[in-house]
Structures are given as structure tokens and as C-alpha cells.
């Protein structure tokens, strides 16, 4: 299984993803500069966190027009796996590969902290090995992570089981204190209709080794590893 990790000017999580996927988990992983016009030879693309193109105008708004993006859209339309974390999630929303948008945190503060996530759906290859209701712990680090979608879109996402993660308290409760950015319905991650494109604000790559306090981030890739070895 071969991962392509997109690198935009201003990305900051690409090396962490490469380290976790290749050094920690043993996948093949290669960085792909945003000016590449093709993404052949990969099974999964990662859009990492950071501030692509300075996040000027809106987070992800410029990155969405990077030369590599048409190839990313075709890759996703063919069923290729795509995971966007933090800024990568914002880019996927701007590109229309995921519904909704990420707004300035309700607190107006940049939030860099650990959060708990409740697994709401196992209908993506990234969560297929997890249990509904399972609690994961990983960090967030963002100023614009308040998920928003209009009422019809929210109803569709709920109805189709496409809300993958919600911010929660350690016991899984959706208390207001456990929502770090004011996201609608505590939404931390959503997928597309086909389930092959997943976006989440938290950083799984920063929670993949015991040294860093949590290994839960690896769980998003364990099922893929099992299949690859299977």
C-alpha cells in the first residue's frame, strides 16, 4: 500500500505523516509537491495540516486551485482513498470533495490541545476496524475548525451516516465544554457519499506513538495495514 502525501507551500504536517506511515507503520509513503500534475501509483493520498498558501483569503481557498488538485479530484472520483487532516480537511471542503466549510473558532482563539473523538460511523476504510462509539484521543491545532453546513446538508450527512467523528467528553458525552471550536453538532470529521474521502480537523499523525501520549491516530491506518498484509 502506497501513500502520497501532498505538500503545499505552507504545509507543516507532511513530514510527521511520512514518519508515522513509513517509519512507524511500515507503509510506502512519498511526498508529492503541489505542482505535480499526476498522482499515479498511489493507493491513498494524504492532505496534511498547515497553512497552505498562507491560508490567504480563506483556509484552503488558494490551495484548492493548486496544479495537483484536478488529479486529486479524479483520483477521488475513481474511488482512491483520500484523507485530509486539519488544513487538508479545509482544502477538501473548498475543493468540493467534502460538504460544508470550516469557520473561525467560536472562541476566536487558536486552539492547540488534546481532544476526545467519538467514532460515529465505521463506513469508511479508515474507521472500518473501529467500533461505533469508540473514543479516540488526539490533538487539534487550528484557528478555523468550526464545521458548518446548511440544514439540508446536515440532515443528509446524519441520515447517510457520513458524520464520522464528533468531539466529546472523555466518557463520550457531547457536552458543550468538549466542543473546542463551536462546530455544528460537535462535528470533527465527515466523509463523502462514497466513503473514500475523509476529512477531520484533529491530527492523527501527532498521536501515533506512545512517546507522544496517544497512539490512537494510528488506528485510522491499522485496518488499511491489515488489508495490505492480508
Amino acid at each position: 500500500m502506497r501513500f502520497g502525501i501532498l505538500v503545499f507551500p505552507g504545509s507543516w504536517s507532511h513530514q510527521d505523516f511520512r514518519h508515522v506511515l513509513a517509519d512507524v507503520m511500515g507503509f510506502e509513503a512519498e511526498e508529492v509537491w503541489h505542482k505535480a500534475t499526476g498522482v499515479t501509483g498511489f493507493d491513498c493520498l494524504i492532505l496534511p495540516g498547515g497553512f497552505a498558501h498562507g491560508d490567504y483569503l480563506r483556509a484552503g481557498a488558494i490551495a484548492r486551485f493548486s496544479p495537483v488538485m484536478p488529479a486529486v479530484v479524479r483520483f477521488a472520483e475513481r474511488g482512491g482513498l483520500v484523507l485530509g487532516s486539519c488544513n487538508g480537511f479545509q482544502i477538501l471542503c473548498e475543493a468540493g470533495l467534502l460538504p460544508g466549510a470550516l469557520l473561525r473558532n467560536a472562541s476566536l482563539q487558536y486552539r492547540c490541545q488534546g481532544v476526545h473523538l467519538r467514532v460515529e460511523s465505521t463506513a469508511t476504510p479508515f474507521t472500518a476496524g473501529l467500533a461505533p462509539g469508540q473514543i479516540l484521543r488526539m490533538p487539534i491545532s487550528h484557528g478555523e475548525g468550526r464545521y458548518h453546513a446548511d440544514r439540508e446538508t446536515l440532515a443528509r450527512l446524519n441520515g447517510e451516516g457520513r458524520i464520522i467523528f464528533r468531539y466529546c467528553a472523555p466518557d463520550g458525552a457531547l457536552s458543550p465544554d468538549a466542543n473546542p471550536n463551536g462546530s455544528l453538532e460537535h462535528i470533527a470529521g465527515v466523509c463523502n457519499a462514497r466513503g473514500n474521502v475523509l476529512g477531520l480537523m484533529p491530527h492523527p499523525e501527532r498521536a501515533a506513538e506512545s512517546l507522544l501520549g496517544s497512539e490512537d491516530g494510528r488506528l485510522l491506518f491499522e485496518e488499511l495495514l491489515a488489508r495490505a498484509l492480508g
Binding site: 473548498e94 460544508g100 466549510a101 458548518h148 463551536g182
Partner: protein
């Protein structure tokens, strides 16, 4: 030449914490009767196009494709002729 002033604001109904913070600051300064405050952004564009209708069509297209995100934002713009 035309200069376009594009104003982009969050759609009505979407929480604007920055606007709320500015409103409470204005209220604390004694400006009563402030029902709402929304903070947006202004983008100034100078276009070489001489025809007004064509310039307006260009700006409209720019707003739709890049400058505003239709999921969360509304936009409007004025055109002013410049030498």
C-alpha cells in the same frame, strides 16, 4: 478602467463571533441601539476592461469561483470608473 469594491460577509444566521465581540465593545462605549454587527472583508480590484457590463460579469465570476465561498458567505460589489 473600473475599480470594483467587493464586500464579503458571512451569511445571515451563521455565528460571527468577531462581529459579536465588536458589537459588545461598541455597546460598552455607550453606543446603544446596535441590533447587529457583522465583520466581513473588502477586496479592491482594478480591471483593465473598459465595458461596464463585461467588467461586472468578470467580477461576478471571480466572486463565484474564488473570492467568496457560497457555503458560508454572501458577496456584493460596486463598480467605479477610474481613469
Amino acid at each position: 478602467m473600473w475599480q470594483a469594491q467587493v464586500v464579503i460577509t458571512l451569511k445571515q444566521g451563521i455565528l460571527d463571533p468577531q462581529g459579536d465581540t465588536v458589537r459588545s465593545a461598541l455597546t460598552s462605549l455607550g453606543f446603544d441601539g446596535l441590533a447587529d454587527c457583522r465583520v466581513g472583508k473588502v477586496i479592491l480590484l482594478r480591471l483593465t476592461e473598459s465595458d461596464r457590463a463585461k467588467a461586472a460579469a468578470q467580477v461576478e465570476e471571480m466572486c463565484r469561483r474564488l473570492l467568496a465561498n457560497p457555503v458560508i458567505e454572501d458577496f456584493r460589489f460596486d463598480l467605479e470608473e477610474r481613469p
